[in-house]
């Protein structure tokens, strides 16, 4: 669904991520951004914050849970071997919880990305397509381009 983003490498190179790095904001002339009178959209910085705010806590949660499980299996083996529910040991329950957490985290991430991140990304793309500069004052200048 990136249909609304501009086609062509010339635009892409000036917009973002050219392997050559970039020199300063595009008002120096490489894009034909005619006027910078538009209010700067903060869609991109909101996207960046929303993305980081989810992915790091979530990653720490599920990697941490798994490593805790491994630590329990390695160093608290007698506890993990104890009776859990029905025929299952405590360890089996903990491992099954890892499976359940994996599925839940997947659904949570997808729901958040679809509802929150995708609209922000679309807004930021639209803003760039209209000649806006997504990054405010974050780009240092000078130095040799690669």
């Amino acid at each position: 669904m990136r249909g609304e983003s501009p086609q062509g490498t010339a635009q892409a190179d000036t917009g973002a991520g050219s392997p050559n790095g970039r020199e300063g904001p595009p008002s120096t002339g490489s894009t034909q951004a005619p006027k910078r009178a538009r209010e700067p959209s903060d869609a991109f910085s909101r996207l960046q914050r929303a993305h980081r705010g989810l992915v790091w806590p979530l990653s720490i949660l599920f990697v941490g849970t798994y490593l805790l499980t491994v630590w329990l299996a390695a160093y608290r083996a007698e506890w993990m071997a104890g009776p859990g529910a029905g025929p299952l040991s405590v360890g089996c329950i903990v491992v099954l919880m890892n499976f359940a957490l994996s599925f839940a985290a997947t659904l949570l991430y997808c729901a958040y990305a679809n509802r929150r991140l995708d609209p922000l990304a679309a807004e930021a793309r639209l803003f760039i397509a209209e000649g806006g500069e997504p990054i405010t004052a974050a780009v240092s200048t000078g130095g040799e381009p690669r």
């Binding site: 917009g15 991109f44 490593l67 299996a73 071997a81 025929p87 994996s102 930021a124």
Partner: protein, 528 residues
Amino acid sequence: MSANGLSLLLFFTFVTSTLFITYWAKRRTQNSADYFAAGRGISGWQNGLALAGDYLSGATLLGVTGLIALYGFDGFLYLAGFLVAFLVVLVLVAELLRNAARYTLADALSLRLSERPIRTAVATSTLTISVCYLMAQMVGAGALLKLLLGLEGPVAGAGAIVAVGALMILYVAVGGMIGTTWVQIIKAVLLLMATGLLTVLVLAKAGFSLGSLITSAQTESGLREAFLAPGGYFKNPLDLVSLSLALVLGTAGLPHVLMRFYTVPNARAARSSTTWAIGIIGTFYLGLCVIGLGAAAFLGRAAIVEADPAGNMAAPLLAGVLGGGEDTLGGALFLAALAAVAFATILAVVAGLTITAATTFAHDLYAGVLRRGTVSESGEVSAAKKATLVIGAVSVVMAIAAQSLNLAFLVGLVFAIAASAHLPVLLLTFYWQRLTTTGAVLGIYTGLGSAVGLVLVSPTVIGPTGLVLNSVEPLFPLANPGLVSIPLGFVAAVVGSLLTRDSAADRAFQPLQVRSLTGHGAEEAVPH
């Protein structure tokens, strides 16, 4: 007709249909984006199946079933690690990489970092990973086909390795990424059908009572309560921690897994394909747990160990029993079908590894570093085809030479290299503005060097339990280097960056953020 004859018949059916697909894929391949990235036209669910086909190896199907049947709990824990690992891919890597890369991991990194050093470093680690994994898979394939077909001697093993090598070269050199993708999709479907059927049959035989299945697995495994307790297989706690760390962090750095994300049209499709893959892989693993329990309950420890001490025959033998038992047509058919699925599984994985290695060689080393971007698109494709032949031939020769060795440790090593050399630099490129080229290159070589170096002096390679120098003591106590090499890789990349300046990498950080998060400027799908 014997089970072996049936197996061969099913093998040939699979091979013939994949060769048709390869021919069809060749006709659809018109440019380099088609050859290297399937024209970026693979849909979410297709790529989800292909990811599962790429990731689930014969070692998982046969080895982990045996592990569960013989040791119980440790097998469950191992599977959970492989699943959680895919979440790291989904949440931290897949979409950003789809938007940043073209054909290889180095493409994404070189958007910020100096191109030639970073391409050389990533190509070195990618080729090391691919060759080690290919060796493990092909030696495993040789041993497996001998077991499954009841053959003896090194000639039969070599024959199996040559057959696998020849097919994988054909798939990749002729069919490119489109052919490889569809081989992986078909394999995933076959694998899911086979495990689904076996799971249902195991549950039916246990009267659909998980409790009675577990109770008889505990009894028949001879382990009783210990069957559901940790420590049956992983005796050294620190070894377990080290291996688990490598598994959970390594998947997100495996180049042949990451390469699948360059075949979808956009980040949304990358997300949905990872979601499909997690669903498929998780369900498959849960089925595998039931099958492992079934093997313990219905075969018993003695029969499993007698067929193969490592337990690799547990799944095929169980299939035979569920099909009606020895000397019945149903039993022979089931055993043959499972053998054919295992063969398909191996082929799909080695094809994925080979196209990754060939792409890295042609795109990063040849076109990017040696010829400094002066190679035409068709020149890159023909270089990749030649590289496929060379990589295929080299891995066949190495696998035949090493076929008497137990190379199962190479799988753990591959995950450790990916977690130590690739993941730190991949994450830092996307999430840390201060990363410099020097730091990244240092991180990659430190991660790669320490992972490989530590394994070479570990108990799996030297010392009484190792492959060589049985009289000396191993210098490193752990079988898997992850616990040391992963932190080393991260520290080297961070310290190397803090000690140097790289204004281009600094300036390119925000534009890469824009590209990777919004998809602005990302590679488009090829219209057909």
